[in-house]
Symmetry: none
Subunit: 93 residues, 4 copies
Amino acid sequence: MPEAATMERPAQAAPEVGGIAADRLRSVIERIERLEEERRQLGEDIKTIYAEAKGAGLDVKVVRQIIGIRRKEPAEVEAQETLLDLYRRALGM
Amino acid sequence: MPEAATMERPAQAAPEVGGIAADRLRSVIERIERLEEERRQLGEDIKTIYAEAKGAGLDVKVVRQIIGIRRKEPAEVEAQETLLDLYRRALGM
Amino acid sequence: MPEAATMERPAQAAPEVGGIAADRLRSVIERIERLEEERRQLGEDIKTIYAEAKGAGLDVKVVRQIIGIRRKEPAEVEAQETLLDLYRRALGM
Amino acid sequence: MPEAATMERPAQAAPEVGGIAADRLRSVIERIERLEEERRQLGEDIKTIYAEAKGAGLDVKVVRQIIGIRRKEPAEVEAQETLLDLYRRALGM
DNA sequence: AGTCGATTTTTGGGAC
DNA sequence: GTCCCAAAAATCGACT
C-alpha cells in the first residue's frame, strides 16, 4: 500500500474520525489480527502433533512435562549455580 | 449482613434490581475489596522491609533473587530428579 | 560445590561467613517470606469468595469488571469509555 | 546425582533405551519445540506492532479492547455490556 | 529498567 | 472419550 498515508486530510484518502487516523488504526488492527490468526494456527499444529504422538503410543501428558522442563531448565541450572554467589553478594563479601 | 446502612430502598429487606440480588452482589464486592486492601497493605509492609534491608547495606536486588529462588527451588529439584523417569514413561518402559 | 544436601536451606550456611550481616539477611528473608505467605493466603480467600459468588449465580468476570471500575477514578473510567467509542466509530463498528 | 553434563540434553540419551519409540519421541519433541519457537516469534512481532501503534499516538489498551471485541460474537459483546450495566445499577453506580 | 498487580491463555482434572 | 471448569502460567500495562 503506497503512500496515500501521508495525505492527511483530503476528503477520502486518509479520513480522520474525531482526530484519529482511521487508516492507521485500521492497519494496526488488521496486521495484529493477521498475526494472531497465524499464531492460533500454530497452536492447532502443535495440537495435531500431540494427537499423532498419542496415536503412536506416547504419553501426551509426560511429553508435555518433558517439553516444559526443557523450556525452563537452562534458567534453573543457572539459578542453582548462582545461589551461593547471591548470598555472598547480599552479605557484601 | 443486617446493617441498616444497606437499606437503600426502605420498602424491602432484600431488593432485587433486574433479577440480581443486590445485597449479595454488594456483599461479595465489599468483602473482596476489603481483602484486597489487606493484601495491598501486606505488599507495602514487604516493601518497607526491603527498604530497611537496603538501609542496612544489603543488596535489595539479590535479596529478591534469593527469595525468588527459594520459592521455586523445591519444584525445580524435583523436576530434575523426575526427568529421566518422564522419558521412560513417555517411551512406555 | 559440596553436597547438594547442604544447599537446601542456604540461609543456614550464612551465619559464619558475614558476621552480623548474615543474621540480618536471614531475618529479612524470613520476615518477607512470612508476609508473602499471608499475602498468598489472602489471595486464596479472595478466590473463595469469587467461587461463592459464582455459586450464587453471579457472573464472576463482570464482578471483576465492577471492582476494577470502582478502583479507578470516575474521570478515568469515562475517558477510557469515550476513547473506545471513538475508535469504534473510526472503524465504523 | 552423578554427572550433570549428561543430563543437559536428555533426548540424546533416549535412542538406545526404547528402540524406535525413542526416535519418535525425539521427533515429536523437536517438532513441537520448533513450532513453539515460531509461535513465540509471532508474539514478538505482535508486540512490535503495538509499540509502533503507541508511538503513533494510539492508546494501546483501547486497541487491545477493540481487537477483543472484534474477536467475540456481537451477541456476546452485547450480553456482557448489558450485564455490566445491570450490576452497576444494582449497586447504584 | 525493573517490579507489581491484573488479565488472559493454557493446562490438568473431573463429570457425564 | 469428550466437554467443561478450576488451577497455573504467561503476558501486559502501570508505576516507581
